[in-house]
Protein backbone atom coordinates (compact mmCIF):
# COMPACT_ATOMS: atom_id res chain seq x y z
CA UNK A 1 0.00 0.00 0.00
CA UNK A 2 1.82 3.13 -1.20
CA UNK A 3 1.69 6.23 1.00
CA UNK A 4 3.15 9.62 0.16
CA UNK A 5 4.50 11.57 3.11
CA UNK A 6 5.15 15.29 2.76
CA UNK A 7 7.36 17.04 5.28
CA UNK A 8 7.92 20.73 5.83
CA UNK A 9 10.26 23.26 7.38
CA UNK A 10 12.62 21.71 9.93
CA UNK A 11 11.38 18.20 9.13
CA UNK A 12 12.35 18.74 5.50
CA UNK A 13 15.83 19.77 6.65
CA UNK A 14 16.18 16.64 8.76
CA UNK A 15 14.86 14.29 6.10
CA UNK A 16 16.72 16.02 3.28
CA UNK A 17 13.78 16.03 0.88
CA UNK A 18 10.15 17.10 0.65
CA UNK A 19 8.52 13.76 0.03
CA UNK A 20 8.98 10.26 1.30
CA UNK A 21 7.37 7.37 -0.49
CA UNK A 22 6.53 4.45 1.75
CA UNK A 23 5.00 1.11 1.01
CA UNK A 24 3.26 -0.90 3.70
CA UNK A 25 2.06 -4.44 3.37
CA UNK A 26 -0.85 -3.91 5.75
CA UNK A 27 -3.15 -1.10 6.80
CA UNK A 28 -1.42 1.54 8.89
CA UNK A 29 -2.47 4.49 11.00
CA UNK A 30 -0.88 7.94 10.98
CA UNK A 31 0.82 7.12 14.27
CA UNK A 32 2.41 4.03 12.75
CA UNK A 33 3.74 6.09 9.86
CA UNK A 34 5.35 8.48 12.35
CA UNK A 35 6.80 5.57 14.31
CA UNK A 36 8.28 4.25 11.09
CA UNK A 37 9.84 7.63 10.28
CA UNK A 38 11.24 7.82 13.80
CA UNK A 39 13.28 4.71 13.10
CA UNK A 40 14.48 5.98 9.73
CA UNK A 41 15.67 9.49 10.54
CA UNK A 42 17.95 10.20 13.45
CA UNK A 43 16.96 13.19 15.55
CA UNK A 44 13.51 13.49 14.04
CA UNK A 45 11.53 12.30 17.08
CA UNK A 46 11.27 15.54 19.15
CA UNK A 47 9.90 17.46 16.19
CA UNK A 48 7.79 14.61 14.91
CA UNK A 49 5.85 14.24 18.12
CA UNK A 50 5.26 17.99 18.31
CA UNK A 51 3.76 17.99 14.85
CA UNK A 52 0.24 17.76 13.54
CA UNK A 53 -0.72 15.42 10.77
CA UNK A 54 -3.02 16.04 7.84
CA UNK A 55 -4.30 13.40 5.47
CA UNK A 56 -5.20 14.65 1.99
CA UNK A 57 -5.31 18.23 3.26
CA UNK A 58 -7.43 17.65 6.38
CA UNK A 59 -6.17 17.47 9.94
CA UNK A 60 -6.16 13.91 11.13
CA UNK A 61 -5.35 12.19 14.39
CA UNK A 62 -2.96 9.39 15.18
CA UNK A 63 -5.60 6.71 14.87
CA UNK A 64 -6.62 7.70 11.38
CA UNK A 65 -6.22 4.66 9.17
CA UNK A 66 -4.68 5.32 5.78
CA UNK A 67 -5.70 4.01 2.43
CA UNK A 68 -3.53 3.49 -0.63
CA UNK A 69 -2.06 6.63 -2.19
CA UNK A 70 -3.07 8.88 0.71
CA UNK A 71 -0.98 12.00 1.12
CA UNK A 72 0.15 12.35 4.72
CA UNK A 73 1.52 15.78 5.59
CA UNK A 74 3.50 16.20 8.78
CA UNK A 75 3.27 19.77 9.99
CA UNK A 76 5.76 21.00 12.56
CA UNK A 77 4.70 23.99 14.69
CA UNK A 78 3.78 26.82 12.36
CA UNK A 79 5.12 30.33 12.21
CA UNK A 80 3.54 32.41 9.51
CA UNK A 81 3.01 36.14 9.50
Amino acid sequence: MPIKVKVFAILKDIVGREEIHLDFEEEVSCREVLRHLETQFEGIAPILWHSLVAVNGQYADGDTVLTANDEVAILPPVCGG
Partner: protein, 168 residues
Protein backbone atom coordinates in the same frame (compact mmCIF):
# COMPACT_ATOMS: atom_id res chain seq x y z
CA UNK B 1 -5.04 33.11 -3.95
CA UNK B 2 -3.60 34.40 -0.69
CA UNK B 3 -0.04 33.17 -1.07
CA UNK B 4 2.30 35.03 -3.38
CA UNK B 5 5.95 34.89 -4.36
CA UNK B 6 5.83 38.51 -5.51
CA UNK B 7 6.39 41.61 -3.37
CA UNK B 8 3.29 42.81 -1.51
CA UNK B 9 2.69 46.50 -2.15
CA UNK B 10 1.14 48.51 0.70
CA UNK B 11 -0.72 50.76 -1.75
CA UNK B 12 -2.77 47.80 -2.93
CA UNK B 13 -4.15 47.50 0.59
CA UNK B 14 -4.93 51.18 1.04
CA UNK B 15 -7.17 51.78 -1.96
CA UNK B 16 -10.83 51.80 -1.10
CA UNK B 17 -12.34 52.79 -4.41
CA UNK B 18 -16.08 52.24 -4.78
CA UNK B 19 -16.50 51.19 -1.17
CA UNK B 20 -18.80 53.80 0.32
CA UNK B 21 -20.33 51.51 2.92
CA UNK B 22 -17.18 51.31 5.02
CA UNK B 23 -16.50 53.97 7.58
CA UNK B 24 -13.44 52.10 8.87
CA UNK B 25 -10.51 50.42 7.20
CA UNK B 26 -7.85 48.61 9.23
CA UNK B 27 -4.68 47.55 7.43
CA UNK B 28 -2.13 45.33 9.15
CA UNK B 29 1.30 44.95 7.56
CA UNK B 30 3.66 42.33 8.97
CA UNK B 31 7.19 43.24 7.91
CA UNK B 32 10.60 41.63 8.12
CA UNK B 33 12.65 43.16 10.92
CA UNK B 34 16.41 42.98 11.32
CA UNK B 35 16.50 41.06 14.58
CA UNK B 36 15.02 37.85 15.84
CA UNK B 37 12.37 38.33 18.50
CA UNK B 38 14.10 38.22 21.89
CA UNK B 39 12.45 35.66 24.08
CA UNK B 40 10.79 33.85 21.25
CA UNK B 41 11.51 30.18 20.94
CA UNK B 42 12.57 28.40 17.84
CA UNK B 43 13.61 25.10 16.44
CA UNK B 44 17.25 25.67 15.62
CA UNK B 45 19.03 23.89 12.88
CA UNK B 46 22.63 24.82 13.43
CA UNK B 47 26.01 23.22 13.96
CA UNK B 48 25.16 22.14 17.49
CA UNK B 49 22.54 19.79 16.06
CA UNK B 50 18.78 19.93 16.24
CA UNK B 51 17.17 20.88 19.45
CA UNK B 52 14.86 23.40 21.04
CA UNK B 53 16.54 26.63 21.95
CA UNK B 54 15.77 30.18 22.84
CA UNK B 55 16.78 32.41 20.01
CA UNK B 56 18.78 35.42 21.07
CA UNK B 57 18.27 38.87 19.60
CA UNK B 58 20.42 38.13 16.57
CA UNK B 59 20.74 40.15 13.41
CA UNK B 60 18.50 38.81 10.68
CA UNK B 61 19.47 39.11 7.02
CA UNK B 62 16.30 37.79 5.41
CA UNK B 63 13.49 35.28 5.87
CA UNK B 64 12.23 32.40 3.85
CA UNK B 65 8.60 31.36 4.09
CA UNK B 66 7.38 27.93 3.17
CA UNK B 67 3.77 26.76 3.04
CA UNK B 68 1.76 23.62 2.54
CA UNK B 69 -0.01 25.52 -0.18
CA UNK B 70 -2.81 23.09 -0.98
CA UNK B 71 -3.88 23.21 2.67
CA UNK B 72 -2.98 26.82 3.51
CA UNK B 73 -5.09 28.36 0.74
CA UNK B 74 -8.40 26.72 1.73
CA UNK B 75 -7.66 27.36 5.41
CA UNK B 76 -7.23 31.07 4.75
CA UNK B 77 -10.44 31.05 2.73
CA UNK B 78 -12.08 29.46 5.77
CA UNK B 79 -10.71 32.19 8.05
CA UNK B 80 -12.15 34.87 5.77
CA UNK B 81 -15.53 33.13 5.90
CA UNK B 82 -15.30 32.82 9.67
CA UNK B 83 -14.47 36.52 10.08
CA UNK B 84 -17.43 37.48 7.90
CA UNK B 85 -19.66 35.22 10.00
CA UNK B 86 -18.46 36.74 13.29
CA UNK B 87 -18.46 40.43 12.41
CA UNK B 88 -20.41 42.63 10.00
CA UNK B 89 -17.61 43.34 7.53
CA UNK B 90 -17.64 44.79 4.05
CA UNK B 91 -14.36 43.48 2.70
CA UNK B 92 -11.34 41.40 3.63
CA UNK B 93 -8.17 41.22 1.61
CA UNK B 94 -5.15 39.11 2.62
CA UNK B 95 -1.78 38.36 1.05
CA UNK B 96 1.06 36.30 2.50
CA UNK B 97 4.50 35.94 0.97
CA UNK B 98 6.24 32.66 0.40
CA UNK B 99 9.86 32.25 -0.60
CA UNK B 100 12.60 34.73 0.26
CA UNK B 101 11.47 37.98 1.88
CA UNK B 102 14.07 40.68 2.50
CA UNK B 103 14.41 43.14 5.38
CA UNK B 104 11.69 45.78 5.41
CA UNK B 105 9.50 43.92 2.94
CA UNK B 106 5.91 43.07 3.77
CA UNK B 107 5.48 39.40 4.67
CA UNK B 108 1.75 39.55 5.31
CA UNK B 109 -0.91 42.17 4.65
CA UNK B 110 -4.49 42.19 5.90
CA UNK B 111 -7.10 44.76 5.00
CA UNK B 112 -10.47 44.78 6.74
CA UNK B 113 -13.17 47.27 5.85
CA UNK B 114 -16.36 47.67 7.82
CA UNK B 115 -19.01 50.22 8.67
CA UNK B 116 -17.50 50.87 12.11
CA UNK B 117 -13.99 50.61 13.51
CA UNK B 118 -14.57 48.15 16.32
CA UNK B 119 -15.34 45.14 14.13
CA UNK B 120 -12.55 46.04 11.70
CA UNK B 121 -9.96 46.07 14.51
CA UNK B 122 -11.28 42.84 16.02
CA UNK B 123 -11.43 40.99 12.72
CA UNK B 124 -7.94 42.17 11.73
CA UNK B 125 -6.49 40.90 15.00
CA UNK B 126 -8.38 37.62 14.69
CA UNK B 127 -7.07 37.05 11.17
CA UNK B 128 -3.39 37.69 11.89
CA UNK B 129 -3.44 35.53 15.03
CA UNK B 130 -5.17 32.67 13.24
CA UNK B 131 -2.78 32.92 10.29
CA UNK B 132 0.20 32.79 12.64
CA UNK B 133 -1.12 29.91 14.73
CA UNK B 134 -3.22 27.73 12.46
CA UNK B 135 -2.21 28.01 8.84
CA UNK B 136 0.62 25.72 7.69
CA UNK B 137 3.19 28.40 6.92
CA UNK B 138 6.73 28.31 8.27
CA UNK B 139 9.41 30.95 8.52
CA UNK B 140 13.14 30.42 8.48
CA UNK B 141 15.36 33.21 9.71
CA UNK B 142 18.78 33.64 8.15
CA UNK B 143 21.25 35.40 10.45
CA UNK B 144 24.31 37.52 9.89
CA UNK B 145 26.52 34.90 11.50
CA UNK B 146 25.66 32.42 8.75
CA UNK B 147 23.28 30.31 10.80
CA UNK B 148 19.58 29.88 10.28
CA UNK B 149 16.64 28.81 12.39
CA UNK B 150 13.05 27.84 11.85
CA UNK B 151 10.70 30.07 13.77
CA UNK B 152 8.22 28.47 16.10
CA UNK B 153 5.54 30.93 17.05
CA UNK B 154 2.95 28.35 17.85
CA UNK B 155 3.56 25.00 19.52
CA UNK B 156 0.17 24.01 18.12
CA UNK B 157 -1.48 24.89 21.40
CA UNK B 158 -4.54 26.36 19.78
CA UNK B 159 -5.04 23.43 17.47
CA UNK B 160 -3.95 20.66 19.81
CA UNK B 161 -7.54 19.57 19.95
CA UNK B 162 -7.34 18.80 16.26
CA UNK B 163 -5.02 15.91 16.89
CA UNK B 164 -1.42 16.56 17.90
CA UNK B 165 0.06 13.14 18.04
CA UNK B 166 1.72 11.33 20.86
CA UNK B 167 3.88 8.27 20.44
CA UNK B 168 1.69 6.00 22.51
Amino acid sequence: MFLTRNPILAKNFLETAQDYKSGAGVVFLGKVRNHSGAGSTGFRHARENLRFSSSQARRVLYLEYEAYESMAEPMMEGLVREAHARWPLEEIKIAHRIGRVNLGEIAVAIQVNSAHRDEAYQASRFLIEEIKHQVPIWKKEYFEDGTSAWGSCAPWMSVARKGALSPC
